[in-house]
């Protein structure tokens, strides 16, 4: 299989980047998209050129480290999928594949396709936890959580933090990411004590990090590898209003 990659190359955060074309032969349909890029990098090494920097780690769709814009879509042409789960069978022979890094002011480019997503960590830091020290826990079954509540919390907690929601959002809003975490913790009895503080501080940090606001296009839900629903954002808004006006 042969395709042409048009890939964004950028030396470092400060330099100006541009697209470069690479015609790559010898691919197979069973290869993952990242394996195709690995293959390209091996070719580049053979030509004594610098390899393309892109991110990945687990390559099974759970760590959230991979993620690039492929042919105009976050994580490629399929809904609810990570870049590492994308396979070359999704492309046509001879196709030109555009590969761009996540674009968001809050995710500055480090090199080529690698961006800095530490803004997500900064949001988490502002309250995505339960302030209980190790060793202070009561017996596990002393805290009852109904199946529906647990399932709903799990739906939200499934977020892998890849940043596709921000990348695809025309406003680079981090609302889906933030709301998923808030709803996971605030809907559980363990999270109740700090619920108001959590929603106010995390959303404030979200704005401070330079993410835009949500206009409910719904693109994030479609690109989210875990299919996290935008209803979470509405729920976050409700929690936020309640925390602000009622306490």
């Amino acid at each position: 299989m042969k395709v042409t990659f048009k890939i964004w190359r950028q030396e470092n955060a400060k330099s100006k980047g541009n697209f470069q074309s690479y015609e790559v032969d010898g691919l197979t349909e069973d290869m993952s998209f990242l394996e195709a890029l690995d293959h390209l990098n091996e070719i580049l090494v053979g030509q004594n050129q610098k390899t393309i920097a892109y991110e990945y780690d687990c390559r099974e769709g759970i760590c959230g480290q991979c993620g690039v814009f492929i042919n105009g879509r976050a994580h490629g042409p399929h809904d609810h999928m990570t870049t590492c789960q994308l396979h070359m069978r999704s492309f046509k022979e001879g196709e030109t594949i555009m590969v761009e890094p996540w674009r968001a002011t809050a995710f500055p480019i480090i090199k080529d396709l690698v961006v800095d997503r530490s803004a997500f960590d900064a949001i988490i830091e502002q309250g995505a936890y339960i302030s209980a020290k190790t060793g202070t826990a009561p017996e596990a079954n002393a805290i009852l959580v109904g199946k529906e509540v647990a399932d709903k919390a799990m739906d939200a907690a499934a977020c892998i933090g890849c940043g596709a929601c921000v990348a695809t959002c025309k406003n680079s809003s981090a609302s889906l990411f933030t709301s998923a975490k808030i709803n996971h913790l605030n809907s559980l009895p363990q999270g109740e004590q700090e619920a108001s503080k959590r929603v106010l501080e995390m959303t404030r940090q979200m704005e401070l990090e330079g993410f835009g606001s949500c206009t409910f296009t719904g693109a994030c839900e479609v690109e989210c590898p875990e299919g996290i629903s935008i209803i979470n954002i509405a729920e976050m808004n409700a929690r936020r209003a309640k925390a602000k006006w009622i306490g």
Binding site: A150, A153, Q190
Partner: protein, 635 residues
């Protein structure tokens, strides 16, 4: 020579006795003590956050862009705990025994007992931290069964248990970062350990964004760097997982225990091409309801659904009637390999077996199966394009967990004072084979409960010493060596890629040092790996510089260590003249092809000392005072 520091008293009282006797540090003094934690998975993040809560000053490093990526995230199935919520006869003792037996009696009784003992409070801890474990309608926790065990003691959060536990640990870590008790260094990779006067006093790291080498000093160094099965190249591990930190520690004097004990997981997706970088794991929990089979006729090319029931060989159920599809991992993997090697394999490359849910779907209905494994089926479809509700999955064994690792005593300290190894990177609790859902457990227990209770015993003395300084000549020397190492690699400028050599190494390791091993093959492997090492240093081409983000250089540095580690693994496998757990030596088997353990000669933990490129063996004899090692039978 090797002092395991097992406390006095009966098995049940050892941990309590230890805690009673260990030294305490007054809170005002704790903040004067610095601890470095390398790795941010369950062990690393658990230790870093708990140490910070206790008042220590903590620095935590990880090579990923965020602590949340650590590979604990990928564990799917669950975490074991002796809660006996299912009222099915479980207890700490039974869990201890299952784990010891699962490890084929090649681990320390005291360590394993502590693991089982602390498992119940660990579940309490995670529930309190907001982990959305599966629940019954009434609100209580649910359990499921897992391989190698006949009780239901596994707690889970869909097929994403590791992720949920890791996110809890990561959140707790960032809580302590906010409290300014933890400083985080993501995108930093440890490249060397600094030992001053025989004690671990710091590390040299490379900033993966700028390429800058940095020095960090501390009163104690904790390694929580995970497993090294990427030595096989194709494994279930994340691409970045590596053995470099522990290998550097090993070269600086830490003994490496049982390096050849690596687990081959029975239910991964089969390799489909040479370019493949990774074998995706499908949770072992699938074996709860899925049945494993191959066709009874060699080379049966019919589609799975067209092969009638009487022509299917459910070989696990046939060979191990009492455990059936839930036989432990080593046994299930070896049985699959046996069938595949005999020519019964299925799939395009004939390297897989079927995992079939037809009967489970008929029995429980598709909705229940969806509820239990929905996300795994979805994942399977994403990767293979096949709907496993309609036709069986194809699975194949893949390199997975490293039971081996740095030798540690009961306190989880290595042979270098002040250097600790926790989680998968040590050799402590799993013996020669790890039971499913015990890895999240061990990593968490080490990080949250054990280390924070043992490190004080060392740090209480460290308090009386001078604080290490990064200006010390040993730091100077270590940084210089790292820098030289990098420059040498960059200056080879050969004509082969790093991946080329990794594939070569992987092939040798998979062929000779995986599911079954023999003397001839291992001797051959040792010489082949030496050839690979020479070729690597003569022909590798690493493009780009070192003062920039350079993923090629990162890979090369890791591979250089993997090659040396591979050598030690084969050496260890060669030395152990018995079959036990994951270590199956073809020379030592029963007439029926089952492993033949040798308790007379081999009831020890191998601990290797690095001596200028050579390895010297030390043995820690295993004493079994409470259980009698038996032949491990799952028939």
């Amino acid at each position: 020579m090797l002092h395991s520091k097992i406390p006095e008293g009966s098995l049940e009282k050892k941990w309590r006795n230890y805690q009673l006797k260990s030294q305490l540090i007054n809170p005002a003094n704790k903040k004067k003590l610095n601890v470095i934690v390398v790795g941010s998975g369950l062990a690393g993040a658990g230790a870093a956050s708990t140490l910070a809560e206790l008042g220590y000053d903590v620095k935590c490093f990880c090579y990923q862009d965020s602590a949340r990526r650590a590979h604990s995230v990928a564990a799917q199935g669950g975490i074991n705990a002796a809660k006996n919520y299912q009222h099915d006869g479980d207890s700490v003792w039974r869990m201890f025994y299952d784990t010891l037996k699962g490890g084929d009696f090649r681990s320390r009784e005291a360590n394993v007992y502590r693991l089982a003992e602390l498992s119940a409070p660990l579940i309490d801890h995670y529930v309190q931290q907001g982990v959305p474990f599966a629940r019954e309608y009434g609100g209580v926790l649910v359990n499921r069964s897992f391989g190698g065990v006949q009780v239901q003691r596994t707690f889970y959060a869909r097929g994403q248990t590791g992720q949920q536990l890791l996110l809890a640990a990561y959140s707790q870590l960032y809580k302590m970062k906010r409290a300014k008790k933890v400083e985080m260094f993501p995108r930093h990779e440890m490249l060397d350990l600094v030992v001053i006067n025989g004690k671990a006093k710091g590390i040299i790291v490379r900033d993966l964004v700028t390429g800058q080498l940095k020095r960090f000093a501390a009163d104690a160094v904790v390694l929580a760097t995970g497993g090294y099965s990427r030595v096989f190249r194709l494994s279930t591990l994340a691409i970045g997982c590596n053995g470099s930190a522990i290998w550097k520690a090993h070269r600086r004097g830490a003994y490496f225990a049982a390096p050849s004990f690596t687990q081959i997981h029975p239910t991964a997706l089969p390799q489909t091409s040479e370019a493949q970088s990774k074998l995706t794991l499908m949770s072992e929990s699938l074996r709860n309801d899925g049945r494993i089979w191959v066709p009874k006729n060699k080379g049966d090319d019919r589609k799975a659904n067209n092969i009638p029931e009487e022509e299917r060989d459910y070989y696990l159920e046939r060979r191990y009637p009492s455990f059936g599809n839930l036989a432990p991992r080593d046994i299930a993997s070896r049985a699959a390999k046996e069938r595949i090697d005999e020519g019964y394999g299925v799939g395009r490359l004939k390297n897989a077996v079927y995992l079939d849910f037809k009967h489970a779907i008929e029995r429980f209905g598709i909705e229940i199966i969806k509820d239990r494994y929905g996300n795994l089926f979805k994942m399977y479809k994403k990767i293979t394009g096949v709907d496993a509700y309609k036709e069986p999955m194809q699975i194949s064994p893949a390199a997975h967990f490293s039971m081996g690792g740095l030798w540690v005593d009961y306190e989880l300290m290595t042979t270098i004072p002040g250097l600790y190894a926790i989680g998968e990177c040590n050799f402590s609790d799993h013996g020669a084979n790890r039971l499913g859902a015990n890895s999240l457990l061990q990593a968490s227990i080490d990080g949250y409960f054990v280390l924070p209770n043992t490190i004080n015993n060392y740090l209480a003395d460290a308090l009386r010493e001078d604080h290490p300084s990064t200006e010390h000549p040993e730091f100077e020397k270590a940084e210089h060596e790292v820098s030289e190492h990098i420059n040498t690699l960059l200056s080879v400028k050969g004509n082969k890629t790093v991946d080329h050599f990794h594939r070569e190494l992987g092939k040798v390791m998979w062929q000779e040092c995986a599911m079954s091993r023999n003397k001839k093959g291992l001797i051959k492997a040792v010489s082949k790996i030496k050839e690979i090492k020479d070729a690597f240093w003569a022909e590798v081409n690493v493009t780009g510089g070192h003062q920039e983000m350079n993923t090629e250089l990162e890979k090369a540095l890791r591979l250089a260590d993997f090659i040396e580690l591979g050598l030690l693994m084969c050496t260890d496998a060669l030395e152990r003249e018995e079959s036990c757990g994951a270590h199956f030596r073809e020379e030592y088997q029963t007439a029926e092809g089952e492993a033949l353990r040798n308790d007379e000669k081999c009831s020890y933990v191998s601990a290797w000392e690095y001596q200028q490129g050579k390895f010297k063996l030390h043995k820690e004899t295993l004493e079994f005072e409470n259980v009698k090692p038996t032949v491990r039978s799952y028939k």
